[in-house]
Each structure stands twice: as C-alpha cells, then as structure tokens.
Symmetry: C2
Subunit: 216 residues, 2 copies
DNA sequence: AACGAAGTGGAACTGGCCCTACGCTTTTGT
DNA sequence: ACAAAAGCGTAGGGCCAGTTCCACTTCGTT
C-alpha cells in the first residue's frame, strides 16, 4: 500500500497477531462503535496493547483496516443499485441495505453517517461510492419515481438520521429502523408533497463531515 | 418540592450558587449534551465541585433541575398543537418546534430522544406531554391529513432520528434538520404511499428507553 | 546452535473525570 | 459581637483510557 519503498513481509507470528487484532477490532467496533476502547480490542485479541500500537499507530489506521470489508460491501450495494434495471428499485434497495448495515454494526452507523473522523482515503472511497449513485438518482427522477428536488446529500442526511434511530433502539427494538426507512422512502418518492427547504450543499456538508468528532 | 417535611430555605449565598450552577449547567448541557463533565459545570459556575454535589447529589438531579424550562417549553408546544384549530397545522408545527429545540440544545436532543436516562419524574412528564398529542393525531387522521397508520411512537422515533441529524450537522450545517423534518412531514402526510413495517409497540419502546445510556 | 533482527507484553506516566473527606469561611440570629 | 449552623473549596483516592518505554522472547537465517 502506501507504506515504505521496500515491502518487508511481516514475520509469521506478527502477521497472525495482526489478523487477531483486526478480527477483535471488527467485533468490538461493531458492538460499541468506532470510539471503543483500544485496550478492550487488545485484550480480546490476546495481545499486549503495545502490539496493537506498533501495528496501527493511530486509531484511524486501525479503523480503516478493520472497516475495509464493510466498505467493500457498501460499494457493492452501490454498484448493485447502479446496475439495477429499475432505478427506484435499485435506489430503495440500496437505502434499506445501508440502513440495515448500520443497524447490524455500530461502526457502520458511525462511518456511514460520516460522524467519525476516518482516514482521508477511506472516506474518499466512501464518498466516491455514494457519488456513484447520482446516476440511479437521475434515472429514478427521469421516470418520476423519485421526487425531482431530491439531492445526493439527502442520502447522507438519511444515514445520519438512521444512525440516531439505531443508536437509540438497538437494544430493545432493533428493527425500528425498518419502519423509519420505509417512511423516508415514502418521503423521497415522487411527487414531492410540499416544497422542501434548501439542501445543505455538498461543499458545506463536506466541511461538516471532516470534523464532527462525534464529541462524546 | 419533594424534599423533607420542614422546608428550610437556603442561605442566600447558597441560593445564589445554586442558581449559578443551574445556569452553567444549562449552557454546558446545551453545548455538549447531558453527559457533559460535571467539573466543567462547576468550573463555569465558579464554584467548587463539592458545592455542586451537595446541591445535586446525582447527575440526574441536576439534569432534571436544569432541564425544567425546556420541559415546560415542550409541554407548551404540545398544548399549542392540541389547541390548534387545524390539526395538521398543529401537528406539523409541533414537529418543527421540537426538532428545532433539539437543534438548538444538545441536551434536548438527548432528552427528547429518550436517549439519556433521566429521573422517572421528568420522563413521566415528558411522556405525558407527548401522549397528549394523541388527540391531535386522531383529529388529523380523521380529516385525512395524517396517514392512518401513523402511531404516537413514530414521533419518538422521529426525535431519535433528528437527534442523529443534529448531532452530525450542528457544527457546519446547523439548519440541515429543517429539510429533514420537512421530508418526515411529507412522509407522515396522507395518503400513505406504501405499507409500513409494524411500529415498535409502546411497551417495547418504553423498555428501550429506560436504559439506552447513549453508551459511548 | 547461535546470533541479530523483529516482535512482544506489561509497567509506568498522563490526563480527565467522578466522588468524598475534612478543615476553613460565611451567614444568621441573638 | 459572637457562636452555632450552614456552606464552601481543595485536595486526594479511585478508575479508566491513551500512549510510550524497555527488558525480554521468538523467529529466521546461516
């Protein structure tokens, strides 16, 4: 990847530990979100905390590496939407898939909602995948399935909202998001019932994203 | 209030400090949510941490006291909705008001979305106020302004969702919630475009609420 | 089998926050 | 003016998470 010139393979024990850390990280991030305790991850991987730091100097390095499979899944969902013959079908399936991933994995809730500061590379890819949907969106509008004033950023806002739903309900009503997503899809469906306030333009949303450290 | 039999007035300096603490708490809670650091509140009130603890032995005592004006405002908004001649008008104004309060005050985002464990008394009142809306909801359905499958709990879920939006956008796109709320209102408006998944019944939502400590 | 490089884990330091104990200060009532 | 009651702030112990350091172990090579 983007590391040094000479690619030196890891020693086998080191490689094994690296995998154990990633596996543990995926579990823990899924349960507790991207701001979970690193020591918990090390503990669960049966590895000293220093080992974790040596392999992943910053939290973001670990997040990026652990999140990769989910990113692929997200990209795949976007591609599926693009490839779908019926654009509304593609669009709505994508929405449900992404929301369901958020529900199943607290890390996805954090990352899809761009609420967690990730590597520039990771969120470049995430945005790219999302932006790819512009095509479906246009086609869905063209056949008057999607309301004309819908914009790509509405999708991001939806994921932020869904993260809120999921976060509040995951313990005792883990399927609440389904009804919520259905409402949103109804809202997106043409014709728009009433005029909407301006969307926050892509530029501002982008700036918004960079640094909502999720605070707490 | 609910304290001891003999009501002993506070010494004037103590009363002054109490007010300072409440004022600081309101500021800090509004900025950082209900899980803000108590020491920060004491610091900002120019008061020792022990004073804060003496006056408000638990975090929830402080939250309840600090939140009171907001609770009143919420109740007032609900009453206004009930009193509105046009039920849809009343309903939608209420939704916008509650969302806007969440946007303006991170504490409201936490409490309205029932994401933060509060005193039983406080959230009893909050629920009562919300439940009062059942009347408007029925009237709005009766005149086919609100879709027939809407339930009261959808309102709570909306507030959870809006908390997510607000949390992610407050720094750089603080009015994003307006467009989101408008979408939701469109979704709620009759006729329902497509069948919805079952709502999570009141009982389960209630259990959900008790203890979503907002984790992180 | 033996040596050096690579890797390891835990101890130690930091800083933030919660919460309590305790000796000092202010108010209040006489 | 003074003493008792009420209130106060600081200091300190506990906990938890992040981060760095370093003496020790394991691996891979010759």
């Amino acid at each position: 990847m983007g590391s040094s010139d000479i690619f030196r393979p890891l020693r086998v024990d080191a490689a094994r530990n690296r995998e154990a850390i990633l596996e543990a990280a995926r579990q823990v991030f899924a349960e507790s979100g991207m701001d979970a305790a690193l020591e918990e991850i090390a503990r669960r991987a049966d590895v000293g905390i220093a080992t974790l730091y040596r392999r992943f100097p910053t939290r973001q390095d670990l997040v990026a590496a652990a999140f990769e499979p989910r990113l692929r899944a997200y990209e795949a969902a976007a591609r599926a939407a693009i490839a779908a013959p019926d654009p509304w079908e593609g669009f709505s399936t994508f929405v449900r898939t992404a929301c369901s991933m958020q529900a199943a994995d607290a890390g996805c809730a954090d990352v899809f909602s761009l609420t967690f500061p990730t590597t520039t590379e990771l969120d470049r890819q995430l945005r790219a995948a999302t932006a790819g949907l512009n095509d479906v969106i246009e086609r869905a509008k063209a056949q008057a399935a999607l309301r004309a004033d819908f914009v790509l950023e509405d999708l991001v806002v939806l994921l932020m909202a869904n993260a809120g739903v999921v976060n509040a309900t995951k313990r005792h009503a883990p399927e609440a998001w389904e009804r919520f997503a259905a409402y949103m899809l109804d809202a997106f469906r043409a014709p728009g019932a009433s005029p909407l306030p301006e969307p926050v333009g892509p530029a501002r949303l982008a700036r918004a994203i960079r640094r909502s450290t999720a605070r707490r």
